[in-house]
């Protein structure tokens, strides 16, 4: 499901003016909140070595399975407790943000490059190129996504790079679909005809005239895709087909925590909460981005 998270559908349905203003300022505040969360995430990832109290790989068997410090039995040295190998959960969480961001951004970059390129080709040249690319699109979309990603990783071998490749190579359809339709619409616009009659070559038209007009839409989708990529990466790691322990990916931590779910719920709860909050923040930001970008979308 590649639908966006925001309220664009609602906005199209009629709305009264004074109340939409109220709604919009609420949206703006939510967007700022999302921005704050994302900024926090990015800063955490960048400054992980400074923020984490301990080394995420350091094992301390004697102090394994400690609960968070605000519970009985917890120690203040380990604010969120330790896992089954005595590693500090908080530190692992902080370092985990690096992995999530890295995977999220890289995978989406790959998706955008592949997807937009295919969409431009399909939309601009049409006819058989379009048929081929559309067919590939249909195939990709009908393929059960998770199984595809898992199979790719199983084939390539589980590692960080391969996850990025697997996600990138399976997530491009959403970009291609939108790029293709928008390119087709833009192709018929007078200013493109003007560019043709001014003697500009195809490459210049595609890059300088069509692509900049696609950017708002692409940006909006890309934001949502980042959160989806983060969730998927953790899912793959959770299923054992992604990043392998001891690398502190949030998904890996969730998988490890699942085994101890019954007694030591915090091992699973905190990583999951981290994923959830990051995703939420990105979605809120994405909504705000669309709100900013939409007036231009409509005007253009």
């Amino acid at each position: 499901m590649e639908t966006s998270t925001g309220t664009d559908i609602e906005r199209e349905a009629g709305g009264a003016s004074p109340r939409t203003w109220l709604k919009r300022s609420w949206q703006l505040r939510m967007g700022i909140l999302g921005g704050v969360v994302i900024a926090g995430l990015i800063l955490t990832a960048i400054f992980a070595p400074l923020l984490a109290p301990r080394d995420p790989y350091e094992q301390n068997i004697a102090e394994r399975l400690l609960p968070p410090s605000f519970f009985d039995g917890g120690q203040s040295a380990y604010p969120l407790g330790t896992d089954q190998l005595g590693r500090d959960l908080l530190s692992r969480l902080i370092y985990g943000s690096r992995i999530s961001l890295l995977v999220g951004l890289s995978a989406v970059c790959l998706e955008v490059i592949i997807g937009v390129l295919l969409g431009l080709l399909a939309g601009f040249y049409g006819r058989w190129i379009d048929s081929v690319i559309s067919f590939a699109l249909n195939v990709m979309v009908s393929f059960p996504f998770i199984l595809l990603a898992m199979s790719l990783v199983a084939v390539l071998g589980p590692s960080l790079q391969n996850i990025i490749i697997a996600l990138g190579c399976t997530g491009w359809p959403v970009f291609t679909r939108v790029t293709r339709v928008e390119t087709m619409k833009l192709k018929e616009r007078d200013f493109i005809h003007a560019a043709t009659s001014l003697g500009f070559g195809t490459r210049r038209i595609l890059l300088n005239h069509i692509l900049p007009n696609l950017m708002p839409a692409i940006l909006v989708i890309a934001t949502v895709e980042i959160s989806r990529a983060i969730i998927l990466e953790s899912l793959l790691s959770f299923l054992g087909l992604g990043i392998q322990p001891p690398t502190p990916s949030w998904g890996v931590m969730l998988a490890e925590g699942r085994d101890h779910m019954l007694m030591l719920w915090w091992l699973a709860a905190f990583p999951g909460a981290a994923i959830f909050l990051s995703s939420l923040g990105i979605n809120l930001l994405g909504d705000a981005v669309r709100d900013i970008v939409d007036p231009y979308l409509r005007k253009g």
Partner: protein
């Protein structure tokens, strides 16, 4: 006639099949060949249906049209919407590929040119579009919109192109500091001026103006038309002025061609057309101009009945016969050809046979 180096050799006058007209030359050089010559242009759009895309019919958008435009001349192309006039304009610029026919620019066959030569030729004619809100790239600043072609074709260096853009903007009546703004900051009339500046940048010889004022407020129209007129003198331009409104064309055109359903029905000089229209369709168009027309007479007996037929299924015989107040039996069977009636005034109608 083969295509050759289009810029430097003297083209020979070829013969054209079909209807040819010799316009009344006001200032144009008698010896020079026409700037633009359209010979028997046809543009049919196929209609496809079914799984395999079988062609089940055609839209006869442009059906055997021949036209000449001399240097420094403005030819108006008039007709109802959907009659194919815009299609002709775009075929000239090779934004569409014609089904058949020839288009000669300064004697050079435009349609046979390959990519590289086509790019060179493209600097010679430009187009101004109808919708000022769709014809400018919203993501580019005005200076890039106007000046990009200068850089691409190497007509200006890195430093001088901005000066040239400034000059162009002033010529069309805009302020130089408008360069840095985006299209959405301008009004419709101003955007159209930007479009004109863009077209002028390459110093073309011919500008196809595709209904340039139809989307503008009536008060602005005169300004833009006057601008086009003054630019014509200054740059030595020729125009193909396409419009559905005879009143607009009256002021600016030297010569007017009237189109109906893909065919030319009357071609005459400006004055001849307004003083003495021959074809019933022309008379009806003139009668439809609100208020008193400038020539003084109101023609009351020329109200048209019925709807415009579809270009997919044009009526047999004279295409206008279904709506013509003077229809005869002959009109239903035979198609009249465009014949010279008197001194450079041509019409396609059996009334004058």
């Amino acid at each position: 006639m083969s295509s050759r180096e289009c810029a430097y050799t003297t083209p020979e006058m070829g013969e054209s099949d079909g209807e040819v007209h010799e316009p009344a030359r006001a200032q144009a050089d008698q010896e020079r060949p026409p700037l633009l010559e359209i010979q028997a242009l046809k543009k049919y759009f196929p209609i496809r249906k079914g799984l395999m895309g079988k062609t089940v019919g055609y839209v006869y958008a442009v059906d055997d049209v021949s036209l000449k435009i001399r240097h420094g001349e403005t030819v108006g192309l008039v007709g109802e919407s959907g009659c194919g006039k815009s299609t002709i304009g775009r075929c000239i610029l090779r934004l569409h590929e014609p089904t058949s026919g020839r288009i000669l620019l300064d004697g050079c066959d435009v349609l046979s040119l390959k990519a590289h030569d086509l790019l060179q030729i493209r600097t010679q004619f430009q187009i101004i579009f109808q919708d000022p809100y769709a014809s400018l790239n919203p993501k580019l600043r005005v200076r890039d919109i106007v000046g990009e072609s200068l850089r691409v074709h190497g007509l200006a260096g890195r430093d001088s192109w901005e000066d040239m853009v400034r000059e162009l903007l002033m010529k069309v009546g805009l302020q130089p500091d408008h360069m840095r703004r985006y299209p959405h900051e301008f009004s419709g009339g101003q955007r159209q001026r930007i479009g004109i500046a863009r077209a002028l940048a390459l110093s073309p010889k011919l500008i196809v103006a595709d209904e340039p004022v139809s989307a503008l407020d009536v008060s602005i129209r005169a300004q833009v038309i006057n601008l086009l007129d003054s630019l014509k003198a200054e740059y030595g331009l020729s125009y193909l002025f396409i419009s559905h409104d005879l009143a607009v064309v009256e002021h600016i055109a030297d010569y007017i061609a009237v189109m109906y359903l893909g065919k030319l029905v009357e071609v005459a000089s400006d004055r001849d057309l307004y003083q003495d229209p021959l074809h019933p369709y022309t008379k009806a168009l003139l009668a439809a101009i609100p208020g008193q027309d400038s020539m003084g007479k109101r023609r009351k007996n020329n109200v048209l009945s019925g709807d415009v037929p579809s270009p997919i299924n044009p009526p047999p015989g004279c295409r206008f016969h279904t709506r013509c107040p003077h229809v005869m039996d002959r009109c239903r069977l035979q198609e009249p050809s465009l014949v010279e009636m008197k001194g450079n005034h041509m019409a396609a109608c059996f009334l004058y046979d």
